[in-house]
């Protein structure tokens, strides 16, 4: 074990792990629901285990998690339920594992969505990240596998990344539990509204398309005032996604 001198943040009470209680599968009376999303093989299950103290099986291959796993932890007397979603490259295709992930973020209305990305493969991972930010407002980017990125001499300016995406960014190496206390504190801050996210919305869309989306999303918003992501629903309806159209028809968003 390498011993590093404690940084100012680690000695601060706010970051103290003492306030964290891993609750395993005890998920009764939760205050907040947290979804864990990300590309395959970015270490979602490892982050999940680090947060909940569970031992969800992890493996070094894409597609290890095909069903959603649930667990819980407590931080500063608030209970958080955590849902580990199957890894997906996108939310725009129709395989079963991707639908599990998409439907939960879209209709399960998690209080916060943690997007786990592989720091060495940020560009590819941002594809999913930007799609998730279209759907939900409250998200935290977990820049995982930082140890590998450092080995590969990749440097990431987390502050400007956070600014660009409009959500907090936490660098972690979940296998050695590095950055997990910071991640927990950030999740809590977003859930409690101490941090307000202003997520990036997809730019560079041709103007004609942008206009069409606006028209359709306004129509959807008028008809279903409770939905928070009419813009994404408009994208999907335009694409003829039968599941989304069915959900709109029945008004059943769960």
């Amino acid at each position: 074990m390498k011993t590093t001198p404690k940084s100012a943040c680690e000695t601060c009470a706010h970051h103290s792990l003492d306030a964290v209680k891993k609750l395993g599968v005890d998920i009764t009376n939760v205050d907040f629901v947290i979804a864990l999303a990300g590309n395959p093989n970015t270490g979602k299950s490892t982050v999940f285990n680090a947060l909940t103290g569970l031992r969800q099986h992890t493996g070094n291959w894409p597609g290890k998690t095909v069903t959603r796993a649930e667990g819980a932890f407590e931080y500063n007397q608030k209970k958080f339920k955590l849902i580990d979603l199957p890894g997906t490259y996108s939310l725009m295709s129709r395989s079963e594992d991707e639908e599990v992930a998409r439907n939960f973020i879209l209709f399960g209305k998690p209080n916060v969505t943690i997007i786990v990305v592989d720091a060495s493969r940020l560009e590819r991972n941002l594809n999913l990240t930007l799609q998730i930010l279209e759907i939900t407002n409250n998200a935290v980017l977990c820049l995982n596998l930082m140890d590998e990125a450092q080995k590969n001499n990749i440097q990431i300016d987390t502050r400007s990344l956070s600014k660009e995406l409009g959500i907090p960014v936490v660098a972690t190496s979940a296998r050695s539990k590095e950055g997990i206390p910071e991640l927990i504190a950030t999740i809590s801050d977003v859930a409690l509204g101490k941090i307000i996210c202003k997520p990036h919305k997809i730019k560079n869309i041709p103007p004609q398309l942008e206009e069409a989306i606006k028209k359709l999303s306004t129509a959807i918003q008028n008809q279903y005032p409770t939905v928070s992501n009419s813009r994404w629903l408009a994208f999907r309806v335009l694409e003829g996604d039968v599941h989304i159209i069915e959900a709109l028809k029945t008004g059943n968003f769960s």
Partner: protein, 473 residues
Amino acid sequence: MKEVEEFDKIIALSNELRWQIGDDFHDDLTEAIYADAAKIVKKTVVQNSQKGTLGIDAKIDSIVTSKIWGFPLMLFLLGFVLWLTIIGANYPSAMLSSLLLDIVHPFLKESTAAIGFPWWLSGFLVDGVYLAVAWVIAVMLPPMAIFFPLFTLLEDFGYLPRVAFNMDSLFKKSGAHGKQALTMSMGFGCNAAGVVATRIIDSPRERLIAIITNNFSLCNGRWPTQILLATIFIGAVVPETYSSIASLSAVVGIAVLGIFFMFFFSWALSKTVLKGEVSTFNLELPPYRTPVFWKTIYTSLIDRTLIVLWRAIVFAAPAGAVIWLICNITLGNESIAAHLVHSMDGFGFILGLNGVILLAYIVAIPANEIVIPTILMLTVMVTGISAGSGSGVMFELDSVSATADILKAGGWTLLTAINVMLFSLLHNPCSTTIYTIYKETKSLKWTVVASILPVIAGFIITFLVAQIWRIIF
């Protein structure tokens, strides 16, 4: 009704808009996302040099996925893992069986007699239920406790996606999805787990192929059967110095034959009832990661080994009870078991098997793990030889040679052993897997196909082997 009208309006609007924006909508959106991603990365990421672990990974990959070394290396790793399992499992297995069967079993017999249990109750509980469970623990636990952690270490290291990469072109040729290599690998641990893992395959057609053919991966309930029979019968054919290598090759051969059948049936299905295009996919080769050794050992012991063992015990207990009952309830002057065995002997002979083996495979539908003890017990009862604890009792014999004696007394030959090894590979999935297939496909038809297809293959193959064998020898 107003809501329905509003909904129709939205759909009408979207149809109209779709007309205006044209076909490139999806591509436009995807391009916009990628453009945004590229811009963000340009602003925030600095790649100092290409050095680092990527270079080492590429070097390992150039060997592991090479055209020349890829397949031999896969066979070598499979053989090595099996060799460690066979060698390593021997001693703890012997210790467990002497503890559970030579010490605890007589003790339970005496205690129940002392308390005053009637013979049928102590027979039912101790000779039926307890012995079945004890046998499963003694035989299953040691190999699983070695095989699973080794497999998990390879998995954590990142080897599985390379296997998928190597086999991709074969899958493509057989009309199946390349990711089936991953679900096939999971099947080597447990077919039910392999069937659930097929969710990573997007296309329903290719997913069905993967589900139906998963049973051709030899699961951990069948490895011990293969290992035991290969040790007794195949190892005995060659001089003693080569016997362990001969039995190891036989087991690897059966596993490879299973892979061959998997490809054959994938191909046959994709050419007939499940026709269609092969979908393309991206498979990321993840970086090699040094497994966190002790943690991996610990979690695979707790998560996999104990869970699978528990399942085996849960199924072995009632099966033990059933076996004891059919051996001890008589119709006329023979037990139910004897009637069943005799009625199936003829069919068994045609397949180079016998009635005992077929009955054992019926009793063992819940769990493949209990096939061998059931065969031994039924053999003793039918032949009337006195060994082990006698009629209607499932038992483990301490030494491999004692097991061999019983089987030989039951009329087993090298042909019987080879055909049981083949039939162990090619028969219906266990009941848990069948149920899982039903849950995943939600189709009775495909569940039946997946259950019957391997049995038919097994009948055909064992029939052919038996006929050819009898002509030659």
